[in-house]
């Protein structure tokens, strides 16, 4: 990576704090970037992931009423006039409240206007389960948007990807939904001390996180970390797993998965969230229909249960796929 060649000074930040850092870098780089949401300014965000922005960028960072439909619609309208708005929806579950604005207005504006509109809106949302927030504050909502053409979807799992993908999202001329996983807020990582475009992560490019020959495991966000745990356990059993983090769900980097399958011939997809209608099933369907001959064994989906996210720890823990379930699925494939 060119960045390491030029060896810039690096700093360690956690996933929560790098969000504010990425926003600050884009706000500083492009005067047309603006940011709005509930309590994102004066209070620094419900998750304290936007601290300091209001003080530094003034009116370009605005606290809104509790009006998600107005937040998204206002971002769209501002984008039409040349701004590059970032809208925060505090929890991804609240995307339900402004779903029409996201899927019928934001996603379709360019198409419906026959290409007249450019809607460079970034929508950030805190995503996912595992923190005990209960059924209406824990959903991995990225799966709600797969069937809606017009929205790019990024799901960063590391500090570097959060930094690089959020900045790329803001620079993208199409609408991008950025899902920030609540259960990853505390993980640490390194980013350049000074804004550095070499650390932008391109939208639509998967990351081969770990090389392996026996099986391809595809996983995002907290499942990526659990897949790596599983890969360690499998290694001790002599099974080498290649772990791929797509990082972007739309557009999906199928080539990287296919390249890996040419080697492993075995696919396990690990998805947080109910199995039906998700990106995991979509990936398995794409591979099965277009690369059938590559598969020596059934492509396997390790997903959450077809239930809402339960509150109590023992139930929520069981709802989320863990390394043990991933390892078991792989072992079964190897035996197939």
């Amino acid at each position: 990576m060119t960045a390491t060649i030029s060896a810039p000074a690096m700093v360690e930040l956690n996933y929560r704090k790098v969000i504010a850092r990425a926003l600050a870098d884009e706000l500083a780089t492009d005067p047309m970037v603006v940011f709005l949401g509930e309590d994102v300014g004066a209070a620094g965000g419900a998750f304290k992931s936007t601290e300091g922005l209001k003080e530094r960028f003034g009116d370009r960072v605005r606290d809104t009423p509790i009006s998600e439909q107005a937040i998204v619609g206002t971002a769209v309208g501002a984008a039409l006039m040349g701004l590059r708005p970032v809208a925060e929806i505090m929890f991804a579950d609240f995307a339900g409240v402004c779903f029409d604005q996201l899927v019928n207005t934001l996603a379709k504006y360019r198409y419906t206007s026959g290409g007249q509109a450019r809607v460079p809106v970034t929508v950030r949302m805190a995503n996912g389960a595992g923190a005990g927030f209960g059924p209406q504050h824990s959903q991995p909502a990225e799966n709600w948007f797969l069937n809606i053409p017009g929205l790019k979807i990024v799901v960063p799992a590391t500090v570097a990807d959060m930094y690089g993908l959020l900045r790329s999202a803001i620079r993208d001329d199409d609408p991008v939904l950025v899902f920030e996983h609540k259960n990853l807020f505390a993980i640490k990582g390194r980013v350049p001390a000074e804004p550095d475009d070499a650390f932008l992560v391109p939208i639509g490019v998967a990351d081969v996180v770990r090389g392996g020959d026996d099986v391809t495991i595809v996983a995002t966000q907290q499942m990526r970390h659990r897949a790596l745990e599983a890969a360690d356990q499998l290694a001790s059993q002599g099974v080498t797993a290649e772990v791929i983090d797509p990082r972007t769900l739309v557009p999906f980097d199928l080539d990287t998965v296919v390249t890996s399958l040419r080697k492993t011939s075995r696919l396990v997809v690990v998805q947080e969230g109910p199995p039906d209608g998700g990106w995991g099933a979509t990936l398995i369907a794409s591979i099965s229909s277009r690369y059938f001959e590559l598969l020596d064994a059934p492509p396997t989906l390790v997903a959450s249960d077809p239930t809402p996210v339960p509150y109590a720890t023992p139930m929520e823990d069981a709802w989320l796929p863990d390394a043990a379930r991933i390892t078991a699925a792989v072992s079964q494939l190897i035996r197939y």
Partner: protein
């Protein structure tokens, strides 16, 4: 300019407004004919009877100002200056319709004249104009955005969220209720706890003005005052224009639900008739008025013919315009 200066309606200005009202009326009658001849599919929602609202408000706007409107938006987009032929072409689903045939009757959009779009989801566009207003405020362009919507739309959540946000941020937005007394078929009193919609302005800390939506001059004057207020940084205004749609809600609606005599009453106050009376009072002769209508008729039928002659989009065109880059 102050509201007062701004609001002086000279004979030329009124003639120009009447010209545009004629064009819209004839445009809609043409579209109506096409639908009855099944030349257009889907649904359409016509504007006959409400012309004074779109023409009066947009006449108070200047270059750089923007509008959003509804599926009943042909009149608004034309009033802002969208070309007749490409507007017809979009409704016919032609390749060089305003939206390349991708949007259709409910989505006429022409960025080149500030028409940010016609929306098919009730209420969805109000926040869009709020966003345009926010951009104007941040960039200091002095631009004003006007959003048109119906009496029924005033009961959907986005109305509330948009007006409160515009109110608390003091954005340069005109919220224009086209109160034609009905939703699709339900009279406003059946769906609205307090049908006096203009009173809602108080909830959002903005002035509310109810106007005769069939008198283009009254509409213009109220809009001009609201525009001045917005440009001066004093925030949004809610305008409630009382008007009436001459035809049913959509082509499939015979409008049987109307009380007898209601339509006739409103026809007597047809915005074209009201404006013509004003012009006569200003001393404009009948022949000039007839000429005005004749010219409009010619322009509209030429445009319609042109649009009809244009080619359909190619099937593969459907794959374009989803992404800017991918």
């Amino acid at each position: 300019m102050t509201a007062v200066q701004n609001a002086i309606v000279t004979q030329d200005r009124l003639l120009d407004m009447q010209r545009r009202m004629h064009e819209i009326r004839l445009f809609e009658e043409t579209v109506m004919g096409w639908f009855s001849r099944a030349l257009v599919r889907g649904s359409t929602h016509l504007y006959q009877g409400q012309e004074a609202v779109a023409v009066g408000v947009t006449s108070a706007l200047r270059h750089g100002d923007t509008t959003t409107c509804t599926y009943r938006g042909h009149g608004t987009v034309l009033a802002q200056g969208a070309p007749l032929d490409r507007s017809f072409a979009e409704i016919l689903g032609k390749a060089n319709g305003l939206c390349g045939g991708k949007g259709g009757s409910m989505h006429l959009t022409d960025f080149s004249v500030g028409a940010l779009g016609s929306f098919a989801i009730v209420g969805a566009h109000l926040p869009i104009s709020v966003g345009a207003g926010w951009a104007a405020q941040l960039l200091g362009t002095g631009a004003v955005s006007a959003t048109f919507f119906g009496d029924g739309a005033a009961n959907i959540g986005t109305f509330h969220e948009a007006l409160n946000l515009a109110g608390v941020w003091k954005l340069p937005v005109l919220f224009v209720i086209e109160n034609n007394l009905y939703g699709e078929y339900s009279p406003i009193t059946a769906t609205t706890a307090n049908p006096n919609l203009v009173e809602r302005a108080a909830s959002y800390g903005m002035p509310g003005v109810r106007i005769d939506g069939n008198d283009v001059v009254a509409v213009f004057e109220a809009a001009a005052a609201a525009v001045d207020r917005a440009r001066a940084g004093d925030g949004p205004t809610l305008l409630e224009a009382m008007t009436y749609r001459h035809s049913g809600h959509s082509r499939s609606d015979p409008a049987k639900y109307r009380p007898a005599g209601e339509l006739e009453e409103w026809l007597a106050r047809d915005p074209l008739v009201v404006a013509e009376r004003r012009l006569r009072d200003m001393g404009v002769g009948q022949d000039e008025l007839d000429q005005l209508r004749a010219d409009a008729t010619a322009r509209v039928s030429d445009a319609a013919e042109r649009a009809m002659s244009w080619p359909d989009p190619k099937p593969e065109d459907r794959l374009d315009d989803v992404w800017v880059n991918r």
